[in-house]
């Protein structure tokens, strides 16, 4: 707020929150046109905050949940050193020759498969229905008796962490509306950090 502004910060808040009398509301509205650009920006922020708080809840969970969360910590497990494993590309449909007579429109999905001693990961890439981006659906198949569920799957775009997913009971995970670029998946599974070789996603999922 500047010293020349005709409305105090507090009055602006009260106005936005409808805490003023009708006469006070009109008084503020009459002076809105005289606001400095700085105060105008402040008012825009207050409105954005007011809109945000009407759309979201910020609440404290029950105390018993707090105790459950604390119990998730196991010091010996936290100190473990993850073994890094690289899963290699074993199949990419984009690198296969097109079948004679098959129209390209039918090849919109791209399949990619990675493999290592611990797991096989099958990935399908399709154009996203809701945007010009791509949807990635994957499934983890353990080679051992280890569970496929609740693995943490990190999607990196270049070196930046772009998204995170968790595998469901069937080992499935997904990412939606992924932009084109070079991507890499990293899975955290028990004592292992499994890194898949990077793959490029052009705008067309067919490669």
């Amino acid at each position: 707020m500047t010293g020349t502004d005709p409305i105090t910060f507090q009055s602006l808040i009260d106005w936005i929150e409808h805490r003023l009398t009708d006469a006070e509301m009109r008084e503020v509205e009459d002076r809105l046109a005289m606001l400095s650009p700085q105060t105008q920006a402040t008012m825009d922020w207050l409105r954005a905050f007011s809109e945000a708080r009407s759309r979201v809840k910020i609440e404290q969970p029950a105390g018993n949940l707090h105790a459950v969360l604390l119990n998730q910590f196991q010091p010996t497990v936290a100190q473990r050193i993850l073994q890094r494993v690289t899963a290699l590309l074993t199949f990419d449909s984009a690198q296969q020759p097109a079948l004679a007579g098959v129209r390209s429109v039918e090849l919109r999905a791209r399949q990619i498969v990675y493999d290592c001693d611990l797991i096989e990961v099958a990935i399908n890439v399709r154009p996203s229905r809701q945007s010009d981006r791509l949807d990635i659906n994957g499934q983890v198949f353990p080679h051992t008796s280890a569970a496929a569920s609740d693995l943490v799957v990190h999607l990196f775009r270049g070196t930046e962490l772009a998204d995170i997913s968790l595998t469901n009971d069937f080992g499935e995970f997904s990412f939606t509306a992924v932009p084109s670029g070079s991507h890499r998946l990293v899975l955290i599974a028990e004592d292992n950090q499994i890194e898949l070789e990077a793959f490029d996603l052009p705008l067309s999922a067919t490669g």
Partner: protein, 185 residues
């Protein structure tokens, strides 16, 4: 761990097996996944499940996180995905409530399709509140995020403040919040 420990300090301490660091992370962030789930209309029980899953994923990923990981955004992303999964499961299990679930699913949207999805708003507000002084945090939570919508009188009573100071304190705390969030962006 000191109250002012950074997220990275806490993650590093957790990796060394310090339970107090984990406790601080939980205290700092337990509202975030819980609130994201609630903001999409999940029950408190389902929101608790989302929160448990988010922290379990965090625990499992501790070793894999890097110093530039924004923990707040990391947890929010996991919570958002878990919320979506529960909503999709509800679509199969409760077809009689399809309209309501579809409305919630459409509001969750694909990540990145909208400049500020609801889960991102929760993360934005949560970050701002957590960055405030304890006094301001308690006041703004009571004024704007308490589901019982207490009056100024009730807030003053709860926080042991003169009722006449609530308005000016609210203005000062909102100004702090504005500066924190604008500096972040």
């Amino acid at each position: 761990m000191a109250i002012s420990s950074s997220d990275w300090d806490l993650i590093t301490a957790c990796r060394a097996g310090h339970e107090t660091a984990w406790e601080e992370l939980v205290t700092r962030y337990e509202r975030l996944p819980f609130s994201i789930a609630l903001s999409y209309g999940l029950s408190r029980d389902d929101a608790a499940d989302v929160t448990q899953t988010a922290f379990l994923a965090l625990f499992r990923s501790l070793t894999g996180l890097s110093e530039d990981t924004r923990l707040s955004a990391w947890l929010a992303t996991v919570a958002h995905r878990q919320t979506r999964r529960i909503l999709q499961r509800g679509r199969h299990e409760h077809p009689d409530t399809l309209d309501l679930i579809d409305e919630r699913l459409s509001s969750i949207g694909p990540s990145g399709s909208n400049p500020m999805e609801r889960w991102e708003l929760v993360e934005w507000v949560h970050y701002g509140l957590e960055s405030l002084s304890e006094r301001c945090r308690r006041l703004l939570r009571a004024l704007y995020f308490d589901p019982s919508e207490p009056s100024y009188m009730e807030v003053a009573d709860r926080l042991v403040l003169p009722v006449g100071s609530i308005g000016p304190n609210r203005a000062r705390c909102l100004e702090q919040l504005r500066q924190i969030l604008q500096n972040r962006s």
